[in-house]
């Protein structure tokens, strides 16, 4: 019963954007029926997954009242580090993956530490680490992709579970559940809403604001590291140019999902739909044969319309 209630409240909370997603799917399916094949739908989910990892953590950071621009670069760096450890140093897979995750987490921790202890705006902090991360990836690889010949490594991002479920989609499911639980069932989740909603009240309530900020940015770094490893695995290589502007797609997904850029309000469920809209859009436009140049323009217009509709709905509600 509570499951049914959960689904119902999910639909009610995200009605506008859900409608948008459905309409989008219908339009694309009419123009190209191949869109609705199981294969293609799984494809959409797989293509959406790395953006979703970033967007889930970005949701927390934005609800907190912050922003993390560094995730695209951190993705590249962690992918490169993992790939190099396997390809050049013959490191065991687990160790290489752990190192990649550690790199991401450390970058996040750096963002979080500076955001928590200084008055530098997070936009600037993460703009700086965006450059540092990207630069580090170039320096390490001398600008060249690092190829990895390892079936085990490739399985991480390109494998199937039970022959049907792509591994990245499995991770998506796990992370959506994890982030939902963090935001709705833990103390940290409530504190994130508190700090983003009214930082002064949080301070007057004795909430440890620094710890909350540190957690959210560190988690964002960890997720970027994870996304970087999955992406590298799917490309059979660590590429220093991977994930350019990925942070913007993540922010777009969060905003499409109804999270307030000023903090304090937002839902993980909304972000999932937001990421799906972006995924469906690029998959569908490809199927219809719209050139990738035009796709940017369409994406931009969709973001504007969706967010405007959302603001409009909230004003009249």
């Amino acid at each position: 019963m509570s499951m049914v209630y959960g689904i119902r409240s999910f639909i009610r909370a995200n009605l506008g954007i859900l409608t948008g997603l459905v309409v989008l799917c219908v339009v694309i399916a009419v123009l190209n029926p191949n869109f609705l094949t199981t294969n293609n739908l799984l494809n959409v989910l797989r293509q959406t997954s790395t953006n979703l990892y970033l967007a889930l953590a970005m949701t927390m950071v934005i609800i907190l009242g912050g922003i993390d621009l560094s995730v695209g670069s951190v993705m590249a760096l962690s992918g490169v580090v993992t790939a190099m450890l396997i390809a050049l140093f013959g490191a065991p897979l687990l160790l290489a993956v752990a190192a990649g995750l550690l790199v991401g987490t450390l970058f996040g921790a750096l963002n979080g530490y500076v955001a928590a202890t200084t008055v530098i705006p997070p936009f600037i902090i993460t703009l700086a680490t965006l450059n540092i991360g990207r630069g580090a990836a170039y320096v390490l690889t001398d600008g060249q992709p690092v190829r990895v010949m390892s079936d085990a490594f490739n399985f991480i991002g390109s494998g199937y579970i039970g022959g049907v479920l792509p591994t990245p989609v499995l991770y998506s499911i796990i992370f959506v559940i994890l982030c939902y639980l963090i935001m709705n069932k833990t103390k940290m989740g409530r504190y994130i809403y508190a700090v983003g909603g009214n930082p002064e009240a949080a301070r007057f309530s004795g909430i440890n604001i620094r710890r909350v900020k540190f957690f959210a940015y560190t988690f964002s770094g960890f997720m970027a590291g994870f996304a970087g490893i999955v992406l590298a695995s799917r490309m059979f290589s660590g590429q220093p140019t991977a994930g350019v502007a990925a942070e913007l797609d993540a922010i777009a997904a969060v905003v499409l999902g109804g999270t307030s850029m000023t903090g304090g309000y937002g839902r993980i469920g909304g972000t999932v739909i937001g990421a799906l809209i972006i995924g469906v859009l690029s998959n569908g436009l490809n199927l219809i044969g719209v050139s990738s140049f035009w796709q940017y323009i369409v994406k931009g217009i969709v973001i504007l319309i969706a967010v405007y509709a959302d603001v409009f709905k909230r004003k009249t509600a």
């Binding site: 833990t186 103390k187 409530r190 508190a194 007057f204 004795g206 440890n208 309000y265």
Partner: protein, 510 residues
């Protein structure tokens, strides 16, 4: 149009009536803030405006400044009936207000601030910087300020910034300047300088409305004083013909309605729970010492800016202090963060519940339980039953009127919001509850309920510190009253010494 700075102001005949406000009334959402008030200002006069917090002084001046529209009444300027509908209107009529908070743009220079919005331009349409600097230099000289026109305002002292505000006002051809507690953050020497400037303005025929609680200042510079109480005009007196005692008795004298009163016997012998010794913070608090006993209500009276909230923020770990000691149950306590205080049973309910207290877009339940999470959330497991039960308990005990525990707090009335905030802190089982203006902006019914809650708590042995600017409230509810003035405790009164006059006497520096 050429900009006119002070040197160009014509000297007007003294004693000419500049302003006459007649029968001014104003209501805010049911509150009768002003009831038919008359006020007059002559040219070359300094007219003091006196009254307790909430007496209507600011409202009256905001009507004059075009910030609030007037409901009833007429305003005459130099004999002509005028209507003031905007700040711009007020400026056109030569009215200028210097607010307690400086309203200059910190990054801009002195000259840019003075000319903000009326920059002189050259024939080609560019800003005439040379003229701006020249005019500013002249004005600064006239007021005896040795400052460069190019100096960014943020580098000036508060007193200097105030002078710039005055110059700015005069440069608008102000005939009337309202000064709202201008000396609250000035040193003695700076006050002296300000008075010299006021003297100059007087000679030029400018009329000045001077809002202040400091008796010595009112006696030093005003010609007449008008006293308001609860939105009503009590009277206008000539300064030379009055005394501090007379002014105080005109200011106070609200009825001590009996429906809320501490109903338990005054506490005298109980054990000391919290004691504060020699607490000092430079420029804010000056050697403050007091103690609170078990089950006692210690009132804190004083005027805005006396340092009451600042003191409590130090005790609660929101602000640091330079010197002094806080003890709980006799053992010394180090408070670096609010949690240090909370762990030791000291909690602080802020006076600004919307800005510093509540999470407005979240539910009643969320707001009540935010300090209780340790008791019902373990990692990913929420004991929803415990949470609901606690929320219901407080909704019932404090009779919070809300359609459901899931209601967003912003949709509640002021009184119910206040009760939600108090619930949050009661949920931590405090031993010392600090209430800062607990009944501000709540209706009469909710007020009575809050007093009932306080009565219940002290019977259960909780100690309460209550900051209140409402004299009847503080007199009726307190066992003792500490009166603060300029960052220090002027006196601590016992029940048999309570009276509005006595408190006001100490609160105004007597």
């Amino acid at each position: 149009m050429p900009i006119t700075l002070p040197s160009f102001i014509e000297v007007e005949r003294m004693g000419q009536t500049l302003l006459r406000m007649s029968g001014i009334s104003k209501r805010f959402a049911g509150v009768h803030a002003l009831k038919g008030v008359d006020f007059e200002l002559e040219s070359g006069e300094v007219h003091g405006l006196l009254g307790e917090n909430g007496a209507g002084k600011s409202t009256l001046m905001k009507i004059l400044a075009g910030i609030h529209p007037v409901d009833e009444g007429e305003i005459f300027i130099e004999g002509n009936k005028v209507s003031i509908n905007s700040v711009k209107d007020a400026q056109t009529h030569g009215i200028s207000i210097i607010h307690r908070e400086i309203s200059l743009v910190p990054h801009l220079s002195v000259a840019e601030n003075i000319f903000l919005g009326k920059e002189p331009v050259t024939k080609t349409g560019w800003i005439d910087w040379k003229k701006m600097r020249e005019e500013t230099r002249k004005a600064l000289q006239q007021f005896g300020l040795e400052l460069s026109p190019e100096m960014p305002v943020k580098k000036l002292t508060v007193a200097q910034q105030q002078m710039i505000e005055i110059i700015k006002a005069v440069s608008f051809r102000a005939k009337m300047i309202v000064m709202d507690e201008p000396t609250s953050s000035l040193t003695e020497k700076e006050v002296e300088f300000l008075f010299q400037i006021i003297g100059q303005l007087k000679e030029q025929g400018v009329g000045i409305v001077y809002i202040s609680h400091r008796m010595n200042e009112l006696f030093a510079i005003t010609d007449r004083i008008t006293i308001l109480r609860d939105g009503t005009l009590i009277g206008t007196v000539r300064t030379e013909e009055t005394t501090t005692d007379q002014l105080i008795s005109m200011m106070v004298g609200r009825e001590l309605t009996q429906y809320y009163i501490k109903d338990s016997a005054p506490v005298s012998g109980g054990e000391v729970v919290l004691s504060v010794r020699n607490l000092s913070k430079k420029g804010v608090l000056n050697d403050v010492s007091f103690e609170v006993r078990k089950g006692e209500i210690l009132g804190f009276a004083g005027l805005v800016g006396a340092g009451r909230s600042e003191l409590m923020k130090c005790i609660f770990g929101l602000d640091s202090f330079d010197k002094g000691e806080i003890r709980i149950d006799g053992r010394p306590l180090t408070v670096r963060t609010p949690n240090d205080a909370i762990k030791n049973g000291i909690v602080y309910v802020t006076e600004n519940r919307k800005e510093e207290g509540l999470f407005l877009i979240r539910s009643v339940q969320y707001n009540i339980t935010i300090k209780l999470l340790d008791q019902f959330i373990k990692w990913f497991r929420v004991n929803a039953r415990f949470e609901n039960q606690k929320t219901r308990q407080f909704i019932n005990e404090l009779s919070i009127k809300t359609p459901s525990p899931d209601q967003e707090v912003r949709n509640l009335s002021g009184g119910n919001q206040q009760k939600v905030l108090i619930s949050r802190w009661l949920a931590t089982n405090p031993r010392v509850l600090i209430l800062d203006e607990p009944t501000r902006g709540v209706d009469v019914g909710a007020k009575a309920e809050i007093y009932a809650i306080m009565n219940r708590l002290v019977k259960e042995g909780v100690s309460i510190i209550m900051i209140s600017s409402e004299l009847p409230e503080v007199i009726n509810m307190s066992d003792r009253i500490a009166v603060m003035y300029k960052g220090g405790i002027r006196t601590i009164l016992h029940r048999d010494e309570f009276s509005q006059e006595t408190i006001m006497h100490y609160a105004t520096g007597g």
